[in-house]
Symmetry: C2
Subunit: 377 residues, 2 copies
């Protein structure tokens, strides 16, 4: 018998009170009972997004919220600046292509962090850019970009800063209002500890002003219509009721732990995981690692895909391989959401046995020991 354990960078494990909430009989979304849930969720989201503005909920996966951010803040003919250093950065460009939005891209080598000075340069050359489409935590490469510095560069320009915070929100500090982030995009299946299917957009006043002049085609992703309904604790379209009900539970969990503690926990788990994989002869792939997930390359002679497969088949542990051009080259261990130190030791222990089985020259216990030292600090 092996137990199954989930370390994929989304979906992430779901705490029992949220699983139980989804198993309760469903309620009608046009009812006082659901409106009370929605009211509570609105407040909880403002806490997690660290914003005074409404956080819009949509029944969609995170990509839907990315598209919503683009089609609500740009108008026909507006130019965008896309920062891309991974699969999700590239997605911003693909969305622009889908809508015929002219854009210039700042291409960042996968695994490296975007240089805010390049963003500043590009904005000087493109004074008509109306949006900067950025990634905070790039899940495909394991990089945490310096979103605060990018925000400082964008703030004085007419452009809105749209940030994919799908795997940074609830993982590391994302003070939406304090940093002046204009659109913060996120999804349910990461640090919010829910199944995929709910997506979020938090908009600043500057972004709502841009939305007011946006004339790109949209209907389902019309954020102004959603806000109008949300202010009455209703929804423009049928919401993903069971996920919203479960979201109330996970938001309460985050509030009970407290955001600073949540961030410190993720930082500690990430540091322990990084130390553990390095002690096992793996190298970190990213120069500025996100605390959401650790991306690593295996020791010489070992296939990343063999590690993923052996962990799954022999240890019941799901981690992720690389995507697109990183397929077969890296493996990724998530420590996002409902994860603690014992989970990190569990996955590192299994990784040790896996690497040993695959013939890597590991000294058993060394990966775990390196992690333990950090967890004990």
């Amino acid at each position: 018998m092996i137990r199954k354990r989930l370390f994929s960078p989304g979906p992430t494990p779901i705490p029992p009170e949220a699983l139980a909430a989804m198993a309760r009989p469903i309620i009608y979304h046009r009812s006082p009972e659901f409106e009370a849930v929605q009211a509570e969720v609105r407040e909880g989201l403002k806490y997690v997004f660290q914003t005074q503005n409404e956080v819009i909920l949509m029944a969609a996966s995170g990509t839907g919220a990315m598209e919503a951010a683009v089609v609500n803040t740009l108008a026909r003919g507006d130019r965008a600046l896309v920062i891309r250093g991974g699969k999700f950065g590239e997605r911003w460009g693909e969305i622009c292509k889908g809508y015929g939005i002219p854009f210039e891209a700042i291409d960042v080598e996968w695994g490296k962090a975007a240089d805010p000075a390049r963003v500043a340069d590009a904005l000087r050359r493109l004074p008509d850019a109306r949006a900067v489409l950025a990634t905070h935590s790039e899940t495909s490469t394991g990089v945490l970009h310096d979103l605060q510095a990018i925000a400082e560069v964008v703030r004085p320009t007419p452009a809105v800063l749209v940030a994919d915070c799908v795997t940074s929100l609830g993982v590391t500090d994302v003070p939406t209002d304090a940093w002046g982030l204009d659109v913060v995009v996120s999804g349910s299946q990461k640090a919010l500890m829910l199944p995929p299917g709910l997506a979020f957009c938090a908009l600043s006043e500057k972004a709502w002003a841009a939305a007011g002049r946006s004339d790109l085609p949209k209907f389902y992703f019309n954020l102004a219509a959603e806000r109008k309904s949300l202010l009455k604790n209703q929804n423009a379209f049928t919401p993903a009721v069971s996920l919203v009900v479960a979201l109330r539970e996970t938001l309460a969990r985050i509030r009970a732990e407290g955001l600073p503690n949540v961030f410190a926990r993720h930082e500690r788990l990430a540091a322990a995981t990084r130390a553990g994989v390095q002690a096992l002869g793996c190298a970190l792939f990213s120069e500025r690692p996100t605390p959401a997930a650790t991306a690593a390359t295996p020791p010489a002679g070992i296939e990343a895909s063999a590690i993923v497969k052996t962990l799954r088949t022999e240890h019941g542990i799901t981690i992720a391989g690389g995507q697109d051009r990183l397929k077969g080259k890296i493996f990724r261990i998530s420590h996002m959401g409902y994860v603690d130190g014992t989970d990190v030791i569990a996955v590192l222990g299994a990784l040790e046995r896996t690497l040993a089985r695959l013939g890597a020259p590991v000294r058993l216990g060394e990966g775990v020991r390196a992690a333990q030292e950090i967890l004990l600090k």
Copy 2:
């Protein structure tokens, strides 16, 4: 103590095996385990949609699938013909407006069924129409439009027939291939007995050909990209994992009962409900009632909203009021999905007590008796 019972026309009650499925630990969508679920779900959806073609799944509510149907089958400048006789018929027009699609509308009085001859006339006058956007079961008025007759009229023209079957699929016969329906749109929270958050589009060869020339802007709702992934049991974007896993359960339930039995059950429950409300002095609102939900006007002097409220507060029963221009004028009782004869008796019994309490001249037992006679047949 009162128990809560749900008779809203979406969400509908969820059977225990589907609730239990959503309470199980979540699985990674890029895993052999999820791909096996997806493969099973693909086959089950083909059975329910009665089609040989792929049924595309999206993480969205039904409106998302309506939008997907429009933006994938029309090209810039293409004209549409919209049949609208209720809130959901009107939604087709709103989606067209959102995308700047020129359209002509056939307006049908709310509560009446669309006349296929008017559709034929309109298509003769508009030989360049490339899509007919229709509603099968109009949930807002309780009307079942004659989709088969409309399909016969559309089939010989260059237009694709796009049908909102959100509350007809799995309720009444929707033989997608046999009737030549080009796009059948549906959602999870109706006869598929799941929470909202999954939407579906089944496309005919004619519709896929239209998709091939479609150049309307899209990204999240790109059906060709979804089909390409689905054929590998994968998804273009993160799927609503927990709903897909639960869908496997409800599809198995539908297959076990058998579609003909499912349709006969809905027909019987609808007939019993119609007989019951009429015996209580209410009038049917729709001239061609859908077996999904019964829309009725209250006896003279009784407010529809008072019925809805009293059922909720005194009997724990959720039914729906009217929407938009029907607000306060009608009430709607769903008998869709995980509902049986005893449920119908329960809601009619509570309706009797409610009407009596509100001062309507009901003879206790008469509504239930009328329903019983039909259930016993």
